[in-house]
């Protein structure tokens, strides 16, 4: 089901770029150029997710967040900002935003985060077992299977696998993995993510003839369904 998204952004080029990304993912984007118009519209129409630029001409993103919340509008908010340092992220999240993404960003990451916010808001959280193609991830037992064969994963590898399963079929970027699996909001200079993915890939593919993970050049990885 396509999401209805309100995007508040004073830079038309950024707005157009996000518009294209969301058009490609089949979602509906409503663009507002300034904060006051956005507040008005958010009060009148329902949206699945609101994307806010941090720095706007009239009202800044943090203030809009506060006013929306004070006005009883609980729509999940993703702050999309050119301010990307840890302290900026902390400000945004402390200020009431549900997620924070810095420009420039991977298009896939924006879509994945919007879907995750929407999923959380509508209560369609993952159940105890996630099944995708030939893969199974048992969250409580912390076990993983491919074609009913147990995969011996280390605790960190299981976290990694689980994150792929939660975003099954979608592109997962290095930044997303660092953030969710290793709780880091910066990219180390060493190829730590690639190497850890390489190890997971071997465990997922060992003894099977179909690949499990696809590398998307320049952006990240995608979990394949692993079916024969």
């Amino acid at each position: 089901m396509p999401m209805r998204i309100l995007y508040v952004e004073d830079d038309p080029r950024s707005a157009a770029a996000v518009g294209e990304i969301l058009a490609a993912s089949g979602d509906v984007l409503v663009w507002e150029e300034n904060g006051s118009a956005a507040l008005l519209r958010a009060g009148m129409e329902p949206f699945d997710v609101i994307i806010l630029d941090r720095m706007l001409g009239d009202i800044d993103g943090l203030t809009i967040t506060r006013r929306l919340r004070e006005g009883g509008i609980g729509t999940p908010i993703l702050m999309l900002s050119a301010l990307g340092r840890s302290s900026d992220r902390a400000d945004g999240l402390d200020g009431g935003a549900d997620d924070y993404l810095a420009k420039p960003f991977e298009p896939e990451e924006l879509v994945a985060r919007l879907r995750a916010l929407h999923r959380r808001a509508t209560g369609r959280e993952h159940s105890a077992v996630i099944i995708y193609g030939a893969f199974e991830c048992h969250l409580k037992a912390r076990t993983a299977f491919r074609e009913n064969r147990h995969l011996a994963l280390s605790p960190k590898e299981f976290e990694l696998f689980r994150y792929f399963m939660e975003n099954a079929g979608e592109v997962v970027t290095r930044e997303m993995l660092l953030r969710h699996v290793w709780k880091m909001d910066f990219d180390p200079q060493t190829n730590v993510v690639d190497v850890n993915i390489g190890r997971l890939r071997r465990k997922l593919e060992d003894g099977f003839d179909r690949p499990a993970l696809e590398t998307i050049l320049g952006s990240g990885y995608r979990l394949l369904d692993g079916r024969r």
Binding site: D11, R13, S14, A17, E20, M55, A82, L83, G84, R85, S86, S87, D88, A102, K103, P104, F105, P107, K156, W182, K183, M184, D185, F186, D187, P188, Q189, T190, N191, V192, V195, N196, G198, R199, L217, G218, S219
Partner: protein, 450 residues
Amino acid sequence: MIEARRSIFSRLVAGAIVLSLVLLAGLWWLTHQTVSSTLQEAARAEVDVDLAGLADIYATGGTAELQARIADRIALTPVEGSTSHYLLADDSGRRIAGDLAQWPPLDPAVSESGIITIGTNSRGFARAVQLGPNLRLVVARGIDIEAPVLSSIAMAFAGGGVVFIALVALLGRFAALGLQRRIERINLAFREPQDGAGLAAAGRIDGDEIDELTAHSGAALARVNDLLAAYKDTSEQLAHEIRTPLSHLDNRLVKALAQKPDPAIAEKLAEARSEIRRIVQTLESLLDIAASKANRGDRSGLAPVDLSALVTGICELYAGSAEEAGLALDWTIAPGVTINGDERQLGRLVTNMLDNALKYVPRGGHVAITLEPGPVLVVADDGPGVDPQDRERIFDRFYRGRGKGEQTSGSGLGLALARAIAERHGLTLTLEEPAADGPGGAVFRIAAAK
């Protein structure tokens, strides 16, 4: 608030009380001495006048007349004041007339005078004279009146003193409280610099010293706040103005990649995107270094961080990469080592140290990470080490080492940022002197600043 014992104002009030006590005691002693000597002086004058009169009587009337007059005087009881006592005796001290029982220890040959005991418990001033051959006279005057006068003076001082000291303490406390409130206001403004506005308005240059201090403190705080705000604005604008066009550029590359170009071109496009990432990271590192330096020594906003868990997690993250690079990565982490800090920044510090080791230690080398309580974090390797002349320069911004002979990537900001983060947490990051017989290599040590 400073505890009362250490407060300059409590000490001032206590000092004022002690000083008042000493002054009162001194004043009492002075009064006591003056009154006492005045009373004795009066007694001496009376004794001398009496003695002169009696000497005249002896000269004109002889011993018999003198005896009669002494008896008269003894019989006369004064209505008020002190009584006089006499003793007329021969040279052996045998009494001829008078009411004193025995000759006092005074030498009549030199007309000696002094305080004598009269009867059993009375005191008096007396003078002895040699009236004629084998005849001497002593005249004494009681000074017992001294005691009640002096004791009432002491009582007056004690009573007045208590009231005086109480007043000093009360006024001192009142004045000190006023001063303390004004000083505390300045201290509070420095403790919470964000709320320091209004301090400048409260102080007046034409007021007293504290008013002036308040005004200066307020102005200084306002200036610091302005600088911080300007710094924040500038860095935000800088980040915004660079990130936005880079974001547009990145978008074009994404669109080009979406056209499924041939693999060689796709690879170049992906590399261009990585370059954009690197520019953004350099920008952020520079801003982070500046922010860490600006926040040096400021402990606000820091929370306890489990350093043992943090370092272990990062070592595990790097284990695979180290293995692929042909390095033995070992870590020895003492459990439960904590520090007050910013977890993300500390993570950045540790990753930067490991990035650095993995970049410069050649295949077959060893990297050892040790965390001990303190905290002391040591990252040691047996790589080529650092040239002596570069030992401090490696912490400079944009300094790049020679690496493993390969193309050395990176911003040249890793160690500069690591040091800035360490200093922001009250830690020092140093490169240890290599041991003469050691394996060489670089040994970085992060420890609490002395």
